[in-house]
């Protein structure tokens, strides 16, 4: 039991520390602890012997030459290596940029009326289609029904031309369209006096097609 008290002291002692007076006195009187200290010291001596081989270990004579060769090979390969990584990074950057733009850009939407994307205060209003749109809308999109083009069913069907009107003018324009449809208001009645005056004579101008002169090799070579 007394020896157990000095166990750590023996280890310290074997590792190179100085023994306390108490431990020295115990060692002087305990043969078992002296034997244990000797065996621990022997074990550490084995460690020292083992590690001492590192002190004299020499690499192969050609190690330096091998390193030079590897350095040269690595250095000559470095530009291609760096170029490869550079291109990979550039490609990755492009992909990231495209993904970023795509994520922030307008998302593809189902066919929806332009009015759906208009500010809430701007009511969508269908107007009689100009002639060039008549064939697309005739017989399928009564003007009256297009005022409700924001309903799901009409949103799918609404492919005709629509207009966006400034805020506050939608109702007035709607009433005008309804009056025109009921023929209670005629276009002439809407004209003010000044506009009823004859328009100025229009000047007729001839628009000629653009002429593209072919290249003249002889002239080009002479200019050089």
């Amino acid at each position: 039991m007394a020896c157990e008290r000095y166990r750590d002291a023996l280890t310290e002692l074997a590792a190179g520390a100085e023994a306390s007076a108490d431990a020295s006195a115990h060692l002087a009187s305990c043969e078992a602890c002296r034997a244990e200290l000797a065996s621990v010291r022997q074990a550490l001596a084995a460690v020292d012997d083992e590690l001492a081989q590192l002190r004299v270990a020499e690499p192969s004579p050609d190690l330096a030459a091998r390193i030079r060769s590897a350095v040269a090979e690595s250095s000559s390969a470095a530009p291609a290596w760096r170029l490869g990584w550079g291109m990979a990074l550039a490609a990755a950057s492009v992909v990231v940029a495209v993904a970023f733009v795509a994520s922030r850009g307008p998302r593809p939407q189902p066919p929806a009326s332009v009015a759906d994307r208009a500010p809430a205060r701007e009511a969508p209003l269908a107007t009689p289609a100009p002639e060039r749109f008549v064939s697309e809308t005739a017989g399928s999109q009564p003007v009256a029904s297009e005022r409700h083009a924001s309903s799901p069913s009409s949103r799918v069907r609404a492919r005709g031309p629509e207009v966006l009107v400034p805020a506050g003018e939608a109702e007035a324009l709607g009433r005008l369209a309804a009056s025109l449809r009921r023929r209670s208001v005629t276009p002439d009645s809407l004209l003010v006096a000044d506009l009823a005056a004859p328009l100025a004579e229009l000047e007729v101008r001839e628009i000629r097609p653009l002429e593209i002169a072919p290249l003249d090799p002889a002239r080009d070579s002479g200019a050089e």
Partner: protein, 191 residues
């Protein structure tokens, strides 16, 4: 190989350092390649592996040479890098296989390995295992102290540590080794 020979062999022309740095690197290679090899050998215990690690350490040193050209700085960097590379290699190898035959430090051909009996080989194996199980900070101090012939000031410079720290770590390492090996000698050496 001298620098002039290397240049004539096309080696110096292929590297990207300027000539002055190239000469310095050649000098470091000449005076420190054995150090890198020994540090790696202290971890890996196989000459072939240690040489591979030394080569890799110098390859990395060459890439960063402009910032570590000072001799002391270079040697400290090289020691740390070789030690780290050796540890990485050993861990990777341990994952691949447990080599039970790698129990003792390989010795040069002229060593007296023929005289080793089974008990001594076992002792060396256990000693090597005990060293390899030391915490990294204690292990590198132990290996370097052996390489530098227990010149603690030199070890301190290589590790960029105060000498007192090196001394303390070395003592802790030896105490741990003593605890682990305390029954070893009576079990093997005295049979």
């Amino acid at each position: 190989m001298l620098l002039d020979e290397a240049m004539s062999a096309g080696w110096a022309g292929a590297v990207s350092l300027d000539p002055a740095l190239e000469r310095e690197f050649e000098q470091r290679l000449s005076d420190s390649s054995t150090l890198a090899f020994r540090v790696a050998l202290g971890v890996l215990r196989r000459r072939e592996d240690a040489e591979d690690v030394a080569q890799e350490a110098f390859l990395r040193a060459h890439r960063s040479f402009a910032s570590i050209r000072d001799r002391e700085r270079f040697r400290a960097w090289l020691v740390r890098t070789a030690f780290r590379l050796a540890l990485d290699r050993m861990r990777g190898e341990r994952r691949r296989t447990r080599r039970e035959d790698r129990v003792a430090l390989e010795t040069p051909a002229h060593a007296d390995s023929a005289e080793d009996d089974a008990a001594r080989l076992e002792l060396r194996g256990r000693v090597a295992a005990a060293v390899s199980e030391l915490p990294e900070k204690l292990r590198i101090v132990t290996v370097l102290a052996a390489i530098e012939e227990h010149d603690l000031a030199s070890v301190a410079r290589l590790l960029d540590l105060p000498e007192g720290t090196v001394k303390s770590r070395l003592h802790r390492a030896r105490k741990l080794l003593a605890e682990r090996l305390r029954w070893l000698v009576s079990d093997t050496g005295t049979r």
